[in-house]
């Protein structure tokens, strides 16, 4: 029964998509005109005028150029370093390409760094522990964030903007300072222990600081807005009449929530989870400040390789593997979604 309204919603979205498609060319043209007012863009346009690239093509390719410059190029540099060998020199690694007899380019690939990653269980334990910590914190953040976002969309319209501001407000303070503040709250003589002891709930101060628990608290606190904002966006768009229809048809509130509200908010849930999981996986500052010496996370391992061992090639290899660990589930997820769409 509840399938029907969903289909209705989808076709409506498709209709909107189709309509906006017609306007794309016009909108691009408009954007191009606006951008021409900016000198750099104008120069770029005149520079490519003779090369057969249309300004429209340039505009469309901007995100790709951006990715190429700021994602692919640094990645290739890191990849290149990961295949070189540690050396006491400036920079501290061997060259990958060497010109022999002025004509041959000799490439020396050193796979030892990757081999070491597999041989030494330290790296695997650090990777797995990072996945575990990031995974658990993502789920916990979702559990905290969902009711928050849901409550915000249910609040009267005039409050919503203020509530949204409150979620964003912490960003006005430096991230580092906010994490430092948690040290003051969580330490043995900290505010939390003081409060709990004065309320008579505990009589011995809890040891939270310098443990994994503190890391979880830090991650959930820091990344909560990244979870709430996409959730709020997808929940706010929801058509309330669907809920009324479900109620009319005799669905109980809990069932309605699962089958309609939650399912319709899935894109928001997924976006929020990715936004939390990905940065949490490589997190360095939070485990370093709040975690104990025993908290093993890949971000800290990477730091130690880079700064304490001064082994740029190995730390580059760690970074490349970290990226692969992140990219594989994302690509798999996209494939799954495409299949879903096709079905």
């Amino acid at each position: 029964m509840s399938q029907k309204p969903r289909e209705g919603k989808r076709s409506q979205v498709e209709y909107l998509d189709a309509r906006s498609g017609e306007g794309t060319a016009g909108a691009l043209e408009e954007l191009h005109k606006q951008l021409l007012l900016l000198p750099p863009y104008r120069w770029l346009c005149s520079a490519i005028a003779g090369s057969g690239i249309s300004p429209r093509g340039l505009l469309i390719s901007t995100p790709y150029i951006w990715l190429l410059l700021f994602f692919l190029a640094p990645f290739l540099i890191v990849l290149k370093i990961s295949f070189s060998e540690y050396a006491i020199s400036q920079p501290p690694y061997t060259a990958l390409f060497e010109l022999v007899d002025d004509i041959y380019v000799q490439i020396k690939l050193n796979l030892e760094n990757y081999q070491l990653l597999f041989e030494d269980d330290l790296y695997w334990r650090a990777y797995l522990n990072s996945v575990k910590i990031a995974g658990i914190s993502t789920i916990l953040t979702l559990m905290v964030g969902y009711p928050l976002a849901y409550g915000m969309t249910r609040a009267p319209q005039r409050w919503r903007l203020a509530l949204l501001m409150l979620v964003i407000l912490p960003f006005w303070t430096s991230f580092l300072i906010r994490v430092y503040a948690w040290i003051g709250i969580l330490k043995k003589e900290g505010l939390l222990n003081l409060l709990l002891i004065n309320l008579g709930i505990i009589d011995q101060p809890l040891t939270i600081m310098n443990t994994d628990t503190a890391v979880y608290i830090g991650i959930i606190y820091s990344y909560l807005p990244f979870m709430v904002l996409p959730l709020y966006a997808s929940l706010e768009k929801m058509d309330d009449t669907l809920l009324e229809a479900a109620a009319d048809l005799g669905s109980r509130p809990i069932k309605t929530f699962w089958q309609i509200t939650f399912r319709l908010s899935l894109p928001g849930v997924i976006a929020g989870c990715f936004l939390v999981f990905i940065p949490a996986l490589g997190e360095f500052v939070i485990p370093d400040l709040l975690g104990g010496s025993g908290t093993l996370m890949i971000g800290k391992t990477l730091w130690a390789e880079f700064f304490s061992n001064r082994d740029w090639p190995l730390s580059s290899a760690v970074a490349v593997v970290l990226l692969l660990i992140l990219v594989i589930p994302i690509v798999a997820f996209q494939k799954l979604q495409e299949k879903d769409k096709a079905a």
Partner: protein
């Protein structure tokens, strides 16, 4: 308008490279440890020479080395410690000092220059700024409460699990520096602290593992505050830092008494050396700055302020009594003989040491 665009571009470029003013000639860019100089020295230098000192600070050798190895720092004078300096010299980071421009070289103390020559043969690339030891800082009252006859002047206090366990509840910090703590553990069991033999180094693991449960935190600067506030009982730390904690506690008059001891078994002696990067934009001014620092009155002023010993013999008669007379800063002749130095680990061994350190820290 054009001028504005230009300077904005220049500013953006400089922000990226993490350096300072380039264009003007009358500048020297100094990169030194935090809390490590009497700032009036910089003003005096500027008054005398007309060269502006752009002073920037760091708090770990690792950060400095990473910047130096990446190159193009824009710094004219940097201050790495001995073993780090040795590796950086090997990597070709520095330019040899032009000793004809360093008239105050004669003031240096041969006791120190002999030792620093181990890291920098002939002292060709560097001069000593300060030196000190890695020993034990402790809260006098709290330690005595828990163990009246505590061996505060011995590494037993740290490396004997039975003794250290008595202080676990009160807080024990250790430097997060594997290349200082592994030699200390080896020295304690009678092995050569300067050993690069993996089999010998492996023995340090058992020593450190045995006391690991009683160590609250591994950190290289937090112990200054923790000791001064009376939050912890014991910290393995650097001499001058512990003495700073002692003075802060005395100033705060909070009933905390901090003391520093150089263990009788011997302790690591470290040296912070001033050197000039190869790509220094103002090498000429850097020489002038280093020569100025080597003046006895200037060096004495610096030591009187930071409570570290310096490598300048001529400055000693100008030192305050509570600096030159304090054996925690200037050890006695006999104590000086027990101090050892550590050469840099070869890369493969370095990885083993770091690995041992990580393993030890993460086991609980």
């Amino acid at each position: 308008m054009k001028f504005l665009t230009k300077s904005v571009l220049a500013a953006a470029f400089l922000a990226g490279s993490g350096a300072q003013v380039w264009g003007a000639d009358e500048v020297v860019n100094v990169y030194n440890w935090s809390d490590y100089i009497d700032e009036s020295i910089l003003e005096d230098f500027q008054k005398e020479t007309g060269i502006e000192v752009v002073y920037d600070v760091f708090d770990s050798n690792d950060i400095l080395e990473t910047k130096l190895l990446a190159g193009g720092t824009g710094y004219d004078v940097v201050v790495p410690s001995g073993a780090f300096l040795a590796r950086q010299v090997q990597a070709g980071v520095f330019q040899p000092l032009d000793k004809s421009k360093l008239s105050n070289m004669k003031n240096m103390w041969d006791v120190i220059t002999q030792r620093t020559a181990v890291f920098d043969p002939d002292n060709a690339y560097s001069i000593n700024y300060m030196w000190g030891t890695t020993g034990i800082g402790y809260n006098v009252k709290k330690v005595a409460e828990r163990m009246p006859d505590a061996p505060v002047d011995s590494w037993k206090l740290i490396f004997d699990p039975e003794i250290l366990s008595k202080f676990a509840d009160c807080g024990v910090f250790m430097l997060d520096a594997s290349d200082e703590m592994v030699p200390a553990a080896l020295n304690y069991i009678g092995e050569d602290p300067d050993s690069n033999d993996p089999k010998v180094i492996a023995k340090a693991e058992a020593v450190l593992m045995a006391v690991r449960p009683y160590i609250q935190k591994f950190h290289s600067s937090e112990y200054i505050n923790a000791l001064a506030n009376g939050d912890i009982c014991i910290a393995v730390g650097w001499s001058g830092d512990v003495l700073q904690a002692r003075d802060r506690a005395a100033e705060a008059d909070n009933g905390v008494e901090v003391n520093y001891s150089t263990p009788v078994e011997g302790a690591l002696m470290w040296f912070d050396q001033m050197a000039i990067p190869k790509d220094a934009p103002h090498a000429e001014n850097a020489h002038k700055f280093i020569d100025f620092i080597m003046r006895p009155d200037v060096m004495a002023k610096a030591s009187n302020y930071v409570y570290f010993a310096n490598g300048n013999l001529a400055s000693q008669e100008l030192l305050d009594e509570d600096v030159i007379g304090d054996t925690a800063i200037y050890p006695t002749e006999a104590a000086l003989k027990t101090l050892y130095i550590k050469n840099p680990y070869p890369p493969k061994v370095q990885r083993k040491v770091t690995r041992l350190w990580t393993k030890m820290k993460s086991s609980q």
